[in-house]
């Protein structure tokens, strides 16, 4: 950030006769720095307002004639998985899940009426942070790359590891994760997993948790469409498809996970 402001100062941003609108926490946190270092006055806008307005705007404009909003058909089937357009013409009510460093979940009832339902601190920052600590990676892209090659089932304890198969009484399939990182209590197992496996497990854990909370919010608010946005999902197809699958599976098809081309 300081380097950016410095650059702005060098390039005489302040001489541009245009307002610099800023949102997000940093609009407040760095306001003073912008003023003193860059001689720039920020026009601060509430991030959630911007988020909602942005989502609605970008869908109305479309993406080079295509739909901005889409969903996945057969998300976990590598061969048959398809991205299909979704018409957001009548979007309300909508559950908006913004996954950045942290997560905010909004219920949007009309273009001017929305509320922040809840959030979670287990977000993109957690995934990246834990990955750095567990694998020594240094960029988000690197972390995702590792995750794409890993096998999280080595790291997680699944239902079938505990029950030997499905647990019918609860309706839990054997492949469901019973305890994330549950196998890592054993030294042997810790020594046998790779960095890629750990990266994958971290991604899966965070993604599933977000999906779970989003699903509960959707049920509580009586909303059946959930739009996931935020930089966590940038180039992160694994998470998008997992969210799509999880929401569909655990809601028995009642909830739909939606995404935007420009997340």
């Amino acid at each position: 950030m300081p380097a950016f402001i410095q650059m702005g100062s060098e390039k005489h941003f302040s001489s541009l006769h245009t307002t610099l609108c800023a949102t997000g926490g940093g609009a407040y946190k760095f306001e003073q720095d912008f003023r003193t270092m860059g001689d720039l006055e920020l026009c601060k806008l509430d991030e959630l307002d911007c988020l909602v307005k942005g989502v609605l705007y970008i869908d109305s404009v479309g993406f080079n004639g295509r739909s901005e909003c889409y969903y996945f058909e057969n998300p976990t089937d590598a061969e048959r998985c398809q991205k299909l357009p979704f018409n957001l013409e009548n979007p309300y009510p909508l559950l908006l899940v913004n996954i950045g460093s942290g997560v905010s979940i909004l219920a949007v009832y009309s273009k001017d009426n929305y509320k922040r339902v809840t959030g979670t601190s287990l977000g993109g920052g957690t995934f990246f942070g834990l990955c750095c600590l567990l694998t020594g990676c240094s960029t988000f892209e690197e972390a995702l790359e590792m995750a794409s090659h890993g096998d999280s089932t080595k790291v997680d304890k699944l239902v079938r590891d505990i029950y030997g198969g499905d647990y019918e009484r609860f309706g839990l399939p054997g492949w469901a994760v019973a305890s994330s990182f549950g196998n890592m209590m054993s030294k042997e197992k810790r020594d046998s997993v790779s960095k890629e496996d750990l990266a994958r497990a971290t991604l899966i854990t965070i993604t599933n948790n977000i999906g779970s909370i989003a699903r509960m919010c959707a049920l509580n608010e009586n909303i059946n469409r959930v739009v996931f946005v935020g930089n966590f999902l940038r180039i992160n197809t694994i998470s998008m498809r997992l969210l799509a699958y999880a929401l569909d599976y655990w809601s028995k098809g009642q909830l739909k996970a939606l995404f935007l081309e420009h997340e």
Binding site: G26, S121, S179, F181, G182
Partner: protein
């Protein structure tokens, strides 16, 4: 936890020579009658029901057929061996399952049991192993059914099972009284993973969700990040960590202006969010703390979301992840399975049902204890010191009460050590054993004495004092009968109070009794505090006796043996009977200090009836009834009384309750509100307590209370 004696090189060669301290972990295994095992994702929980031999003191009337009555002891005391049932609870990591099964097999010598009940995932996975090792047939039960039945059981039967945790409050732990109606509730069981169950009734419950982020995640991720292998060590690290070094907070994102988002600056925006930007390494402590917060917050949030969806306002958190650690409990409100602390449960406590006194004004808000020592640090320090100082004397008395036993000294020392350790633990962690009150300190002491086969250390003292008091009974009655009515009422009350002074439980008194054995009843009466007493509603009581009709039935909770019951209580009882009031005399079911027990009261009453026609005819006509309270404590919990007593109270339309003694009227029930008239009497035999209440040692409390309309 089981530890290996030798070094094994993997699952194949498990060392047979295990250094398990069997007395402490697998107690009473030989007589185990029923086994149940719950094999979860990481931990195995074993419960077994076995019998224990156990000393109990019994009293029995002698057959006086013309023998030397004056010099013979009043009744016979015998110490008998009784068999009681106990439930034991053990936990160990799944990796040790084979070793533990072998150990159990080696020690299961006296059992006729053929079946072991099993639940949890492991019931499927380890079925063959268990059947092979133990030679028992595995009978599988559904884990959710077991979980709910167990939860309902503890919610109904174990007092102070449930507590709420409030961060930054003066009293961090608020123990909840057992609510009469426990349903519906949400149970969040945190094991390796999390199960969320909605319970609507005994038989109607449903798994409604879960989470894979649970204890296993904490353990697994914790091990990876901090290289700590043990769960408890991780918690230890967490307690010393600063999560703000690792987590990104809202104020880190916003600077100061957090009100725009409507969130507090101290909330965590992104767990482990600083990991990406920090240059230095994080400490193990900080990471462990961050991890703990992350997981606990997540579970709490999911629990709330589920509760909201199903309209439930009670959420109980159970499972081994929590373990009473303040660090874990700081983020959400919990209820905890106390079996992780108490690994044994006396079954016969639960065989006679315990119920509320029907005369309690509001049973759902009744709390017996007057002072909560977890709340009141000064009081806590005082009482812990007081009990520490008294301990040597108690141990000596215990040993001296069994002069014919060769190992009495040894057992007394073990008792002293054990109780001492408990007191020290309580100094460090006042919440370690649940609620902390003078009552719990007294009761724990009694339990420890029982554990080391000292069921009734005061039995001989009581016997001697009962004998002496009986000899004085008739002359006391004669002098009372010679007084005018008003004078007599006052003398009776003074008699009750003076009698109450004879309490071996109070150090101030036992010192005197030990040094001045002739300190008798008359002296006690003469030394009684002059009116006005510290709490003095005697005039109102007198007024009531003068103006009002005789009470229909009085319930009297007796305190000490000897002079108290015979020369204090009985004349008072006699007066009530003469007025036409029925009397229910309630005494302890089991011994505690020198309190009179129900069985002793039967003998004493028989003797008095032989001397006194009023008592004699009252017994015969069932106007005087003797019952047991259901308690073996020097204190009194009116919400857990013997059902027989409760039934009788209703039948006889009791309209007066008399509670005497420090234990029953001051340490407990001082503020208890009843639906009928009540008398609470005691002489304060502890200077600190007297000071607290605004008086001096040996101050008198005479509280006559009338229910407000």
């Amino acid at each position: 936890m089981a530890e290996r004696g030798g070094r094994g090189s993997g699952h194949g060669s498990l060392d047979k020579s295990i250094t398990l301290p069997p007395d402490e972990i697998f107690r009473n295994l030989e007589n185990a009658k029923r086994f149940a095992i719950d094999i979860g994702g990481s931990l195995t929980k074993l419960a077994y029901y076995s019998t224990v031999q156990h000393k109990v003191a019994r009293v029995r009337s002698f057959d006086h057929s013309g023998k030397d009555i004056d010099n013979e002891p009043l009744y016979e005391i015998s110490v008998q061996e009784e068999i009681t049932a106990r439930l034991h609870f053990i936990k160990f990591e799944n990796t040790y399952i084979e070793t533990c099964l072998d150990f159990i097999k080696d020690h299961l010598v006296n059992t006729e049991t053929k079946v072991i009940k099993a639940t949890g995932g492991g019931a499927y996975k380890f079925k063959d192993l268990i059947e092979k090792k133990l030679g028992l047939k595995v009978d599988k039960e559904d884990v959710m059914t077991c979980l709910i039945k167990g939860c309902n059981f503890v919610l109904r039967n174990i007092p102070h099972e449930v507590f709420a945790y409030q961060k930054d409050s003066d009293t961090e732990f608020r123990f909840q009284t057992n609510h009469p109606n426990i349903f519906p509730y949400l149970l969040v069981n945190i094991g390796s993973g999390v199960s969320i169950v909605k319970v609507e009734s005994e038989d109607k419950f449903e798994w409604i969700g879960g989470s894979s982020i649970g204890g296993g995640t904490f353990w697994g991720l914790g091990a990876l990040l901090t290289k700590t292998k043990k769960f408890d060590e991780l918690l230890q690290l967490a307690s010393k960590g600063q999560h703000t070094n690792v987590d990104m907070l809202v104020k880190d994102v916003y600077g100061g202006a957090c009100q725009t988002l409507g969130l507090s600056g101290n909330l965590i925006a992104s767990s482990f969010g600083k990991s990406t930007t920090a240059d230095k390494e994080f400490s193990k402590e900080d990471m462990a703390k961050s991890l703990l917060h992350m997981i606990s917050n997540d579970i709490g949030q999911l629990a709330c979301l589920h509760a909201k969806l199903h309209n439930l306002d009670k959420i109980y958190f159970g499972g081994f992840f929590i373990r009473g650690h303040p660090v874990t409990m700081r983020t959400i409100t919990y209820s905890i399975n106390f079996f992780s602390k108490f690994d044994m449960l006396e079954m016969d406590r639960l065989e006679r049902p315990l119920v509320n006194l029907p005369l309690l004004k509001d049973p759902s808000t009744y709390i017996p204890d007057t002072v909560d020592l977890t709340d009141d640090a000064m009081a806590r320090k005082y009482w812990l010191t007081c009990f520490e100082e008294a301990l040597d004397g108690v141990a000596k008395r215990a040993a001296a009460s069994q002069p014919d036993s060769v190992d009495a000294q040894e057992r007394a020392e073990k008792f002293r050590q054990k109780y001492w350790n408990k007191l020290q633990t309580l100094r460090q962690q006042p919440f370690a054993y649940g609620t902390l009150t003078v009552r719990s300190l007294l009761d724990t002491r009694e339990h420890c004495l029982n554990e080391f086969s000292f069921p009734d250390p005061y039995s001989k003292v009581k016997q001697k004092e009962n004998g002496i008091a009986l000899k004085c009974f008739q002359s006391v009655i004669e002098s009372l009968d010679s007084l005018g009515w008003e004078e007599r009422q006052f003398a009776l009350v003074k008699g009750l109070l003076a009698g109450n002074v004879f309490d071996w439980g109070a150090k101030a008194v036992s010192d005197v009794l030990e040094s001045e054995p002739q300190f008798g009843f008359e002296e006690a009466k003469s030394k009684l505090q002059e009116r006005p007493w510290l709490e003095d509603s005697y005039s109102q009581w007198l007024e009531r006796l003068k103006e009002g009709p005789p009470h229909k039935c009085a319930l009297i909770f007796a305190d000490n043996s000897g002079i108290d019951i015979i020369l204090g209580v009985f004349p008072f009882v006699r007066e009530l009977l003469s007025r036409g009031t029925e009397v229910i005399l309630a005494c302890n079911s089991g011994p505690a200090l020198n309190d009179v027990t129900y069985s002793e009261s039967l003998i004493v009453t028989e003797r008095i009836a032989a001397m006194d026609p009023v008592i004699h005819s009252a017994l015969r006509d069932e106007k005087l009834l003797l019952v047991q309270t259901g308690s073996s404590s020097p204190c009194l919990d009116l919400s857990r009384l013997d059902q027989g007593l409760a039934v009788l109270v209703r039948e006889r339309q009791t309209d007066l309750v008399v509670i005497e003694g420090m234990g029953r009227a001051i340490h407990t029930n001082y503020y208890a509100v009843l639906r009928c008239e009540s008398l609470k009497l005691a002489v304060i035999k502890n200077s600190w307590l007297a000071d607290r209440l605004g008086g001096k040692i040996f101050s008198v409390i005479f509280k006559y209370e009338v229910p407000c309309k």
